[in-house]
Each structure stands twice: as C-alpha cells, then as structure tokens.
C-alpha cells in the first residue's frame, strides 16, 4: 500500500534539506546592498578637518573597512589589513564606527594604521545605511562606486586571498 510510504517519503525529503542545511552558515546574511551604489555620505576624517565622501574615490577600486577601538575581533584582522596596506594593492578607507576619537587615534598608533584615511561615523548613522551589524565589516567598491562584496566579520588571510584579492584584480582590469 503506497500511502503507508508517504511518511517515509516526506522524511527523506526533510533529511535531504537538513543535509544541505548543514553546509550553510545561518549567520551569514547576504547584504541587499551588493551590486548597488555605495550610499553617499560626507563625514569628517579622523585627525583632520577635511571631510570624506565615497565620491572622492570615484574611478578607483577601494575597500571600506568598518572598525572601532572597542571591537575585539577588529584586532584579529588588523595585522592582515596592515600587511595588505603595505603591499599598496588597493586603498583601504576606514569607517571608524561609534568610537571615541582619542581611543580611535590611540588604537591606530598602537596597532598601525592601514587606512589612507578614516571617516568618523560617531553616531553610527552611516553604518546603518551600509547595513553594518557586526563590526568589523569590509566592502569592496568598484570604480563606478558600486558595492561588489560585503564581508562580515574579521578578514582572514584566507578570505583575503580567495575572495577579496581575486575580485579586486578582476575589477581593476
């Protein structure tokens, strides 16, 4: 009798889905901003009177890295960013997110400054427009000012090599 096989059939389908589910990371939330123009803003630069706006980077491929001195995992990715900045491959702009300016300055002095500049987002409003939810986050923005990748969490040597660098190379062509 076929109807007695229905529960088994349903269960097999369920197991297949669960198996696929095991290969996914439920915490990895894709950004709806991918392939959309980077939201415009104008923020003061850390340690300078000048303002910064994403339009200033027009015509270049660049990284926007959201960081803060209070952020523990920022420290984890920092050496990788410092090394990457030394290679001169791509400019990194920092977005200093909800931080105290003296703390932020001290942090860069202590651990090195990989950024061409850091924009100060003191109240986190720009962060909201970029959909920031877990500092550190890193955006790859192309020559036309379009977000091509959002990386949530610390950049690792692995994600730099396999995700960010190939994309940057392709965008620079």
């Amino acid at each position: 009798m076929k109807r007695f096989l229905i529960p088994l059939g349903a269960f097999v389908v369920l197991v297949i889905f669960l198996a696929i589910g095991l290969t996914r990371d439920p915490r990895d939330v894709p950004s709806p901003l991918k392939d959309k123009p980077a939201p415009a803003f104008s923020l003061p630069q850390l340690g300078s009177d000048k303002a910064f706006s994403p339009a200033d980077m027009q015509g270049r491929v660049w990284l926007l890295n959201v960081w803060a001195s209070w952020c523990v995992s920022c420290r984890q990715e920092h050496p990788i960013l410092v090394a990457f900045a030394k290679s001169g491959n791509t400019p990194i702009v920092g977005l200093n997110y909800k931080d105290q300016i003296p703390d932020a300055k001290k942090w860069l002095a202590d651990f090195g400054d990989p950024y061409v500049l850091s924009a100060v987002d003191a109240d986190g409003r720009v962060g909201i427009n970029y959909g920031v939810y877990g500092v550190p986050e890193t955006y790859v923005i192309d020559k036309a000012g379009v977000i091509r990748l959002k990386h949530t969490g610390p950049v690792t040597a692995d994600s730099l090599k396999n995700q960010i660098l190939p994309l940057v190379a392709a965008l620079n062509k």
């Binding site: 894709p30 709806p32 109240d123 986190g124 959909g131 920031v132 877990g134």
Partner: protein, 157 residues
Amino acid sequence: MKRLFHLCFLCVLCAAMVNPVFAREAAPMAADAAIEKRMVLISEELRCLVCQNESLAGSHADLAQDLRREIRTLIGQGKTDQEILDFMVARYGDFVRYRPPVKPTTWLLWGGPFLLLIGGIGVLIAFLRRRAAAPETTALSDEERRRAAALLDDKPS
C-alpha cells in the same frame, strides 16, 4: 478591577503628597508616547541582527538601540510603517523581517498551514466515511472484550 485605574491615579497623588520634595514622576524615556508605541509595534516585527534571535524591540544590543532611534526619527518624519520596513529591508535584506513578506518564495510558508488543515480535514472525512460505510469488523467480539477486561481486572467502561 476598574478600581485599579483609579488607584493608579491616587497612588501618584499619594506618593506626591507623602514626599513632596523627593518624589517626582519619572520622565518617560520616550519624548512622545504615540511615537514610542508605534516604534515598539514596528520593532517587534524586526529581527535584531547582532543577537539574531531577539526582536529589535527586546534586544539590549547597541545596534538595536540605534535602530530604534532611527525608527523614531523616521516616524517623526511622517513615514508610514511600510516605508520604515522597506528602509530596514533595503539595508539588511528580508532577513530582518520576522513576518516574511508574501511573495512567490514564501507562498508555501503562508499557505502551508492552510493546506495542511484542508488536507487533514479531507483525510479525516474520507476516513470517517469509509469507516461508517464498512461493516462491523471490530477486532474483538464483545465476548473477547469481556474476557480481556476480566483478565486485566478492569471494569468495563
């Protein structure tokens, strides 16, 4: 029970009289109660991305506070609830909505319980019809039932 509400008022008065120097009515955190109410209703529909399993309304996370502030601002600007939800979805994706929007990928989600219910009732009716039509085929005859009951020392019920 209605008295409670009068009492509530009295309490404030009493407290004010007992301790006139000290006791002030605490200021609400929200400047505007109506905005606050709408903000809470909207933020209960939204998922806090930092802690992921709390609503924006319930979360103590820093980002949740910022986002609640943002919602208040948007309400103050006269935005509708839908516009505010769209604002959030544009930044964080459908993931932030605890009530998934109805669209082709969620038809099964929203229709599923209804289908299950219809299916369940359908199977139930078919089953009952068949049973009602079938001849009496009790597994146990009444005699067997009595014997079983006697052996299990059960009162026939």
